[in-house]
């Protein structure tokens, strides 16, 4: 991809808090229209990295370009092109959903229609309700609506579906897919690996302030092609075996049991298995 296709470009990013290095040399490239997920345990440097990209924090070293601008020199015009959904912002409890959306729309040069954005996140029937009467999941959807109201080219989503019920999460994923289909770049941080697997074109795993793995969710290092976990019931209980040749193993088992293998399952290692390997003991 050439330079203009990049929504985000980071080279050698560093940040210390006192004597503590939070980010120790991160490189990132996110293409326009891509959904990119940043994964990692708490304290790994995820939030610090994202807040530097959002223009909330200064850095100690490295180059950062977000939509072609260094966030250190964040201008109003640049802010109008990005949307930020923070982890939790429970403000203006006495305003209604519609009032809040209309108010935020007034900050931007060419906002989306408030009613349309409220509809997009499924809050139309609560538009006239005071914000303090919303449920946790509805509040979160309002946060997302306010992040979208300016019609951003790049959307930052920090743990967007925390507190959602499963149906609301699926509905939210559809919203993100629709945005991405419309050309919006999305930088997502999440604890839910199924969410990253479902939404992201690429994921990066941060650990101790560096990126330890990066790639499409189905092709991270450690995701050896064709490898599977086979499990079945034995006299001693459940047996599990990780193998690159599952068919050969099952053929052997079928011969041993003379037909059906009791309790047979064959699974591919999930993103979660690989993630846990990556942030676990080995690097």
């Amino acid at each position: 991809m050439n330079a203009t296709d990049r929504a985000v470009r980071v080279r050698g990013l560093r940040k210390r808090y006192g004597g503590d290095a939070a980010v120790r040399g991160i490189d990132l490239e996110i293409a326009q229209g891509e959904v990119f997920a940043l994964l990692g345990p708490n304290g790994a440097g995820k939030t610090t990295t994202v807040e530097i990209l959002e223009g909330y924090r200064d850095r100690d070293g490295g180059e950062v370009s977000v939509l072609g601008v260094d966030p250190r020199r964040a201008s109003r015009a640049w802010r109008a092109r990005i949307g930020i959904v923070l982890q939790l912002a429970a403000d203006a409890p006495e305003l209604t959903v519609a009032e809040m959306a209309e108010h935020f729309a007034g900050f931007y040069p060419s906002p989306r229609r408030p009613a349309e954005v409220i509809d997009l996140v499924g809050l139309t029937d609560r538009a006239r309700s005071r914000i303090h009467t919303l449920s946790g999941g509805q509040l979160r959807r309002l946060d997302v609506a306010l992040g979208l109201i300016g019609g951003p080219e790049l959307l930052f989503l920090d743990e967007p579906t925390t507190g959602f019920d499963p149906a609301a999460r699926r509905a939210f994923w559809e919203v993100i897919r629709a945005l991405s289909g419309g050309g919006v770049t999305v930088l997502l941080t999440t604890h839910y690996l199924d969410e990253a697997a479902a939404l992201a074109d690429r994921v990066a795993v941060i650990r101790d302030g560096v990126i330890v793995a990066e790639g499409p969710p189905g092709a991270l290092p450690g995701h050896r092609a064709g490898e599977a976990v086979v499990s079945w019931q034995d006299r001693g209980g459940t047996r599990r075996e990780r193998t690159a040749e599952p068919t050969r193993l099952i053929t052997g088992l079928a011969a041993r049991y003379g037909g059906e293998v009791p309790g047979l399952t064959v699974t591919r290692p999930s993103l979660e298995d690989i993630y846990l390997d990556l942030i676990g003991g080995r690097q």
Binding site: A80, I82, E99, G181, D201
Partner: protein, 289 residues
């Protein structure tokens, strides 16, 4: 890159092509007025801010005036007269200092400020919204207190333009000084939810006792009055007495209203408050990471 990504790139290309003809950013004044509207709605819809910042001074005026009804201090001044003037000073500080100190501490803790900072809203528009809210609330507060004074204590409103001019500058300087101090005080509490109200309100309550709001100034010991006269509230109350209880001048220690000094002290606090705000105001809490 995959086919899906390059399809998305095409869409992004049209998005950036449209950007060339994008309308200009909304002006700071327009955004500021919109902030003011939202601030006023929030203030007057919230029971807590209406009860603590707005209704409290009027309730105190009714209560204290009733308890000390008919008592005189001599020179044709009733205790009720002194309470009207004193509570106007206290009410102005409640709707500016206490209101901003507590509400901004909560806005910082609940990420309201952080979220606003992440939008193209100009910082000046945020403060313009606060100015609109505080001046509206303080004006309404004075109107309510004057109405109570006229209805309950036969307060006579001054007729001379000179008196109203004095009222106007004492009011504006007092609101400005107390607002800036409130914004600065909002950075003090470590946690708005746990001790924000106490940290911001405690000094204000002490000042109200020694500056002639809850206790008529004639009953405050001279050394405590000297302490009070370091802070703006005592001068605001004195200025309000000069407007609404002019006959009380002979009760003043210096037998004069000291208008020049009042303007000087309040202006000094505006300068000090501004410096404090510039040094301490933060859009987000200082956290390790």
């Amino acid at each position: 890159m995959t086919a899906a990504t390059s399809a998305a790139n095409t869409n992004a290309g049209t998005a950036s092509a449209m950007r060339g003809s994008q309308p200009p950013l909304p002006g700071a004044w327009r955004v500021g007025l919109s902030r003011g509207q939202v601030e006023l709605k929030s203030f007057f819809r919230e029971r807590q801010s209406v009860a603590f910042n707005f209704a409290m001074p009027a309730v105190m005026l009714v209560l204290l005036g009733t308890i000390f009804r008919g008592q005189h201090t001599g020179q044709g001044v009733t205790i009720g007269d002194l309470y009207v003037a004193g509570l106007i000073g206290g009410g102005v500080m409640a709707t500016s200092y206490q209101n901003l100190g507590v509400s901004i501490a909560f806005e910082r803790e609940r990420f309201t400020l952080k979220r606003l900072r992440g939008t193209p809203m100009p910082a000046s528009a945020y403060f313009a919204g606060k100015i609109i809210q505080v001046f509206t609330a303080a004006t309404a507060e004075v109107a309510v207190l004057l109405a109570v004074g006229v209805a309950m204590y036969h307060l006579r409103l001054p007729a001379s333009p000179a008196a109203w001019w004095t009222f106007a500058w004492v009011f504006v300087l007092g609101v400005a000084a107390c607002s800036l101090l409130g914004i600065a005080a909002s950075s003090l509490p470590r946690s708005a939810a746990r001790n924000g109200v106490a940290v911001v309100t405690l000094p204000f309550i002490v000042l109200q006792f020694i500056s002639g709001v809850y206790v008529p100034f004639t009953l405050v010991p001279p050394w405590l009055r000297d302490v009070a006269s370091v802070f703006p509230l005592e001068w605001m109350c004195r200025g309000m007495r000069s407007v609404f209880v002019p006959q009380a001048v002979s009760l003043e220690p210096s037998h004069s209203w000291q208008h020049g000094q009042t303007a000087l002290v309040l202006t000094a606090w505006i300068v000090a408050g501004l410096v404090l705000c510039l040094k301490t105001f933060r859009w987000q809490e200082r956290t390790a990471r």
